[in-house]
């Protein structure tokens, strides 16, 4: 066991190292891409009254007159210590603006995950158990339809049914720090449901496929020949062996819950990172755009690392070496 623990620790360290490397590459790409954006902040902010002199003054104030390489390294150095710089828009620190927004986005993702993951895995298991039945087909069609529709469309349909025709949830999700948990949850519900509909299909279909894939295995036949009931065959004999692919898909979708919320947050005017991101792109507030991108990338990398570790832990051959 101790040998395995040490091996796992080494693996996690190695993956973290690779993750950091990836992040640095990503930071280069982000910085480069933002550089390539047409227009610049100074011109954007001055609008019609942009004289070359005024533009030059603002550029100097914000350090935009420095060479690209210098700016990249001073930004990267800051980012590594948690200092993402000062927002161009309102002169407040990026971290200060981003912090509460990111907390909101995490809350939304968490609510969506708490609904979608059990739902997807549960429906996936049931679909595998009653494969090719009406239930299976219905589950497949419903989830496929919801994943095939654009997010904003799903969002508006939900608003129509759950806010306009039956006023159960508010259609605007203006959460703020002063709200109690219940109200906050209520206001988060519609965006969370939209996200649920978007991510469930993928996870549910993978759960179903991973389980069905195993049903031809000799050990499943053995379980049946021991008189084990169909439900127990699926849950006890097939599911534990299907965990690795399911975990990976879940991680991918959780990452999407954080990085893919832009449209949903805009539709519901939810004060999360996505909103901020869109607003900042509009006004060329480069430090915020860069920080958002970096957070998104880090989320992907961390969730995938977690999935890898969990996949390994779900494999008894690796957990209990000879």
């Amino acid at each position: 066991m101790s040998g395995f623990g040490a091996d796992l620790f080494r693996l996690v360290l190695k993956r973290l190292g690779f993750g950091l490397l990836t992040l640095i590459v990503v930071s280069l790409i982000i910085f480069g891409a933002v550089e390539l954006l047409p227009g610049d902040f100074a011109e954007e902010i001055l609008g019609q009254g942009a004289t070359p002199e005024a533009v030059a003054v603002i550029r100097e104030e914000l350090g935009l007159d420095q060479p690209v390489v210098t700016r990249y390294f001073s930004w990267l150095g800051g980012a590594l210590t948690g200092d993402f710089g000062i927002s161009f828009g309102n002169q407040r620190s990026v971290a200060e603006q981003l912090g509460p927004r990111f907390a909101n986005t995490l809350f939304l993702a968490l609510v969506a995950a708490c609904i979608s993951v059990p739902l997807a895995v549960g429906v996936g298991i049931l679909a595998a158990l009653y494969r090719n039945s009406i239930f299976d087909r219905l589950a497949n069609i419903t989830t496929l339809t919801s994943i095939s529709s654009p997010e904003f469309f799903v969002a508006y349909i939900l608003i129509l049914f759950l806010a306009v025709m039956n006023p159960i949830f508010p259609s605007l999700s203006n959460v703020s720090s002063g709200l109690d948990f219940g109200t906050r949850l209520e206001r988060t519900m519609l965006p969370a449901l939209t996200l649920t509909l978007v991510v469930t299909a993928h996870m549910m279909r993978m759960t179903r496929a991973a389980i069905i894939n195993l049903l031809a295995s000799p050990y499943i036949e053995m379980a049946r020949l021991k008189g084990v009931s169909p439900a127990r065959v699926i849950v006890r004999h097939a599911l534990p062996n299907a965990l690795a692919p399911i975990i990976n898909v879940i991680a991918l979708n959780l990452a999407y819950l954080i990085t893919g919320v832009v449209v949903v947050e805009v539709v519901f005017v939810y004060p999360g990172v996505g909103q901020l991101f869109v607003d900042s792109v509009k006004i060329r507030d480069i430090p915020i755009v860069q920080a958002c991108c970096l957070i998104f990338a880090a989320t992907y990398i961390l969730l995938n690392l977690t999935a890898d570790v969990l996949s390994i832990l779900s494999n008894p051959r690796l957990r209990h070496p000879k």
Partner: protein, 549 residues
């Protein structure tokens, strides 16, 4: 005697689904099994043995269905019974032991948890009691460390031990009937004997009835009270074991019995001064940092067969990989007609590559299913001999004739349109296409039925005499060795433990390991296992095997 009857099958017909229609694969079988009786079901692949065995449990695999007939277990009609009634019987009163325990134990759970599952769900005994019972059974089945072995995961236990643990699992509810579906086919001979003895003991102790499915006649002779011979879903004949062995009535049964008698005439002695076709000199090799071969040497002469025998993991196939250059040896060298060959096949020229060809165990996977026979054989013909166009076609046709397949019929076929034996023949033709002096045959008959395997052995023998070929014949089947080898190399743990002419090898005194291998090969005598166990000392069978290694 009717209340003594446990299984009563009448007119059983089973259909299998292929190409979108149902085809009958079992054509009306009757079967009676009494309490405590062990019946052997034997036949070649496709005979329907496993299908019938499973049907006796009221179970059919996906894509199969029982179309007619009745299956009664202790008076319960399994075809009419509800799914939950059948589930109540399965595991509790009827148990199953599968061919590959390694594949049939769930990798995600500990062995003992799988053992106690059936007693728990059938409410036969509480888990704690069942665990204690499992340990007792492990001890009776002579598993090492019976107290703790159950708390391991399946991958932590060897194949032979798992097979015994599976037998213990089948016993967990003390069933009335156990179906053994080729339980020792995947095991080495030395391991097989332990499992056979364990199964026989425990079935006797608990007076369990059993259906023992196998294609190995010598095994069934040890295990069964009665034997039923099957061919393509029909019963050929049935009788008690001794009658069946001494006095088979049907020609098909006689032909099965006769397979082991293939004995080609002996060849003249080797001329000592002649340079061997292939000479392996003090080869050592490793996979990564794991050493697998240690100082292996042997010679193979023109027109001779050297059989390399040993258990799985003994280094037989690794030695072959060294000769072909797939695994460059870390020490030693390989001489072809006295000239050293480069260790890595990439550094060998076309003529050196031509010298050593291979025929594989699984003809199924060794032939590309999407490539026609004409191309499978034609490509090496063109690559090694430079023939093209009509000349190439003529050569491929000649090769097909050599392997006794009609060119007109087979030239344009695809591998999936061939039987197992025919595929193996194509594998032979592909090796011959290079016009080699030496062919490595890696377990070429072990995936085939006995009659088909015999045909392949006869073909290889004929080709050897016609073309003066040298064979390296890798096998774990000593019956095959006895029939076709000229010399034998016995390997164990990557070393050669004994080598020499066949006649010497089969004559005592042997190296203790050779002795263990030889004495472990089941014989057709129904008293063979009993006598052998007696000789080795029944009580410490496992120890005897371990001590002599």
């Amino acid at each position: 005697m009717s209340d003594d009857l446990l299984v009563k099958i009448r007119g059983l017909k089973i259909e299998g689904r292929s190409d979108d229609k149902w085809n009958e694969i079992v054509h009306g079988i009757d079967l009676d099994l009494h309490r405590g009786e062990v019946m052997g079901l034997i036949g070649e692949s496709g005979a329907g043995k496993s299908t019938i065995g499973l049907a006796a449990m009221g179970f059919t695999r996906d894509g199969c269905r029982i179309s007619e007939g009745t299956v009664e277990f202790d008076g319960i009609d399994l075809r009419k019974a509800s799914a939950s009634t059948r589930r109540d019987l399965l595991g509790k009163r009827i148990a199953y032991v599968a061919q590959s325990a390694a594949a049939s134990f769930n990798p995600a759970h500990r062995i003992i948890d799988q053992h106690t599952e059936a007693p728990m769900i059938h409410k036969v005994m509480p888990v704690s009691e069942s665990q204690q019972d499992a340990k007792d059974l492990y001890e009776r089945l002579r598993l090492p460390d019976p107290e703790n072995i159950g708390f391991r995961y399946p991958h932590q236990v060897s194949g032979g031990q798992l097979q015994r643990a599976m037998t213990a699992m089948a016993m967990s509810c003390r069933p009335d009937l156990i179906i053994f579906d080729e339980p020792t086919t995947a095991l080495d001979v030395t391991t097989q004997i332990e499992v056979l003895a364990a199964i026989r003991d425990i079935v006797e102790q608990f007076n369990t009835a059993a259906i023992y499915i196998t294609h190995d006649l010598a095994v069934v002779a040890q295990m069964a009270d009665t034997i039923k011979v099957l061919l393509k879903g029909d019963e050929v004949e049935a009788a008690d074991t001794r009658t069946m062995l001494s006095d088979p009535k049907e020609d098909y049964t006689k032909s099965l019995w006769a397979v082991r008698s293939f004995a080609p005439p002996p060849k003249p002695a080797i001329i000592a001064s002649e340079t061997p076709v292939i000479s392996v000199k003090n080869i050592s090799a490793s996979y990564g940092i794991v050493p697998v071969l240690f100082d292996v040497s042997f010679d193979i002469h023109k027109g001779r067969t050297v059989a390399v025998v040993g258990e799985s993991g003994s280094g037989k196939s690794t030695a072959a990989r060294c000769i072909t250059g797939l695994l460059p040896p870390s020490k030693g060298e390989i001489l072809s007609n006295g000239i050293p060959l480069p260790g890595n096949y990439r550094k060998r020229n076309r003529d050196q590559l031509r010298q050593a060809q291979m025929i594989y165990q699984m003809a199924d996977t060794a032939l590309n299913p999407k490539v026609r026979i004409s191309e499978i054989i034609g490509r090496p013909v063109q690559f090694y001999t430079g023939l093209t166009g009509t000349a190439r076609r003529k050569r491929v046709e000649a090769l097909l004739e050599q392997i006794e397949l009609d060119p007109a019929e087979y030239y344009n076929r695809l591998p999936p349109e061939l039987s197992g034996g025919q595929k193996q023949r194509i594998g032979i033709a592909r090796a011959l296409a290079a016009e080699p002096a030496f062919i490595i045959c890696d377990e070429v008959t072990s995936a085939l039925d006995q009659l088909v395997a015999e045909g392949i052995l006869r073909l290889l023998d004929r080709l050897q005499r016609e073309l003066d070929l040298a064979y390296m014949f890798i096998t774990h089947d000593l019956a095959t060795v006895r029939s076709i080898a000229d010399e034998v190399v016995v390997m164990k743990s990557g070393k050669v433990v004994e080598s020499g002419p066949k006649d010497e090898m089969f004559r005592p005194p042997h190296h203790p390991y050779t002795d263990l291998l030889l004495s472990s090969v089941p014989e057709m005598d129904p008293d063979w296992l009993t006598n052998l166990l007696h000789e080795r000392g029944v009580e410490n069978l496992g120890d005897a095997a371990a001590a002599s290694m």
